[in-house]
Subunit: 309 residues, 2 copies
Amino acid sequence: MINKLVEKITKTQAPIVVGLDPMMKFIPEHIKAAAFKEYGETLAGASEAIWQYNKAIVDATYDLIPAVKPQIAMYEQFGIEGLIAFKKTVDYCKSKDLVIIGDVKRGDIGSTSEAYAVGHLGKVTIGSKQYYGFDEDFATVNPYLGSDGIKPFVNVCKEENKGLFILAKTSNPSSGEFQDKLVDGKPLYEVVAEKIAEWGADHMGSCGYSYIGAVVGATYPEMGKALRKVMPKNYILVPGYGAQGGKGKDLVHFFNEDGLGAIINSSRGIIAAYQQEAYAKFGAENFAEASRQAVLDMQADIAQALAQR
Amino acid sequence: MINKLVEKITKTQAPIVVGLDPMMKFIPEHIKAAAFKEYGETLAGASEAIWQYNKAIVDATYDLIPAVKPQIAMYEQFGIEGLIAFKKTVDYCKSKDLVIIGDVKRGDIGSTSEAYAVGHLGKVTIGSKQYYGFDEDFATVNPYLGSDGIKPFVNVCKEENKGLFILAKTSNPSSGEFQDKLVDGKPLYEVVAEKIAEWGADHMGSCGYSYIGAVVGATYPEMGKALRKVMPKNYILVPGYGAQGGKGKDLVHFFNEDGLGAIINSSRGIIAAYQQEAYAKFGAENFAEASRQAVLDMQADIAQALAQR
């Protein structure tokens, strides 16, 4: 799957992942009205609104991008109905040949991590049968529990040719509270990154990159620069572009010399583009076209930054 | 909800939480056969088997215990159908007046943690209506992202009189890989515990304990002793009893002098008791009675250890 991701990035010339994080306040009124007319202001109504909103954005952008990253929390908040919309979104994106990064940030002790890995990336065994649960292509994983919380994910990834992005340095303001603490003279996120490089060496793609990548926030470009060197063969998933403050020029150090090695996420900057001044001319009715233009603009911003480095 | 938990612990004299972690290999054949007969060897069949298994164990133990802790990964591995069994289990335990600790180990950046908090502990807003998603009483949370990943959970807990157990030192063998690293001369888990005490001071119950607790593994009794002092007013959820190796005598230091302050989890030791030699006499048909006996034995083990300290 890392090979497919790299191929698609090369083909689209867009190291971009669209974060499908459908907060209700992003969804245009006409989409919500139609869903509520059918199902009422209910969990099922919210689920339908999310699904129609996602579908329109995917239809308007899938030819430009290699991957999507649905943030499961935005679905899980609506309980079972929300997760039905998550699963529909995953399946639909798959039908459009997009790579799906399940932003689930799971992680637990060994047997529990195995269950998460099976549910999101692998197949669960029921009697003599096997079934996929959510069936994403990549999952994000939290490293706090250490190797035996990570290895079951890696094992399932090996069986399924799938991958992970493990949190190293997150994009939020207080990420430094624990992640920046110095241990043995270097920050914890660097210690984690060294382990990611080690775990990743065990599951390499033929493209030269590992199936096991890292998450490093766009909001910390200097740390991105340092971590790029610590993990030369691991893809870096970079959240925090746009709404969280990251810009194209901040991102160049996340990439290797080959122009690969990083994929930049934008969520509300793309899916709620129509709510921004720069795209207001599209209007809420044409929200999906606004999202398409935002992808094109993001692609140009990153390409320009890479050309000028 | 911390007041209710403490009240129920005092009343039952059992600082015990039963981990409802229904792996397929634990479920007796006759339960699986009945479920598969109705739904086939499908995700729905697995969901039905899990639900019937849980229901029987809850029916056999609810009068002895204050709380249950369903591990969501064990349900999530079966996709949507598995999560339906999770929700049925939560609702059923609530009808039996049990405190429900959702072992979800979520945690993300601020807006995303807010969505998880809303989904598991609070109410989501849809138009003019509000709905509970999964509606547990407590949730476990991963601290790696720092304060702004935790505060949205605390805020929802304050609105709902609910609580958290935040990971400090986990029970697994490799938990020390990052958690034991020395920062400023003390281990990271202690730095996290100090923050838990700080976060918890913001949301105190009338019982004298905070709504915000910590997870510290039974497998590290010495660390439990140290962390008890760092977090005197925070409940400690202690996994790792039984199958993972923790014993009653290892647990005494997790408790305060008042005999409160800790709640010990056992999962397979109780729910799959019938598979152990000590309870084999019950047979698979009477698995729930075996679970009841295992609860009684665990209660006696802990009471004896506390009496002898």
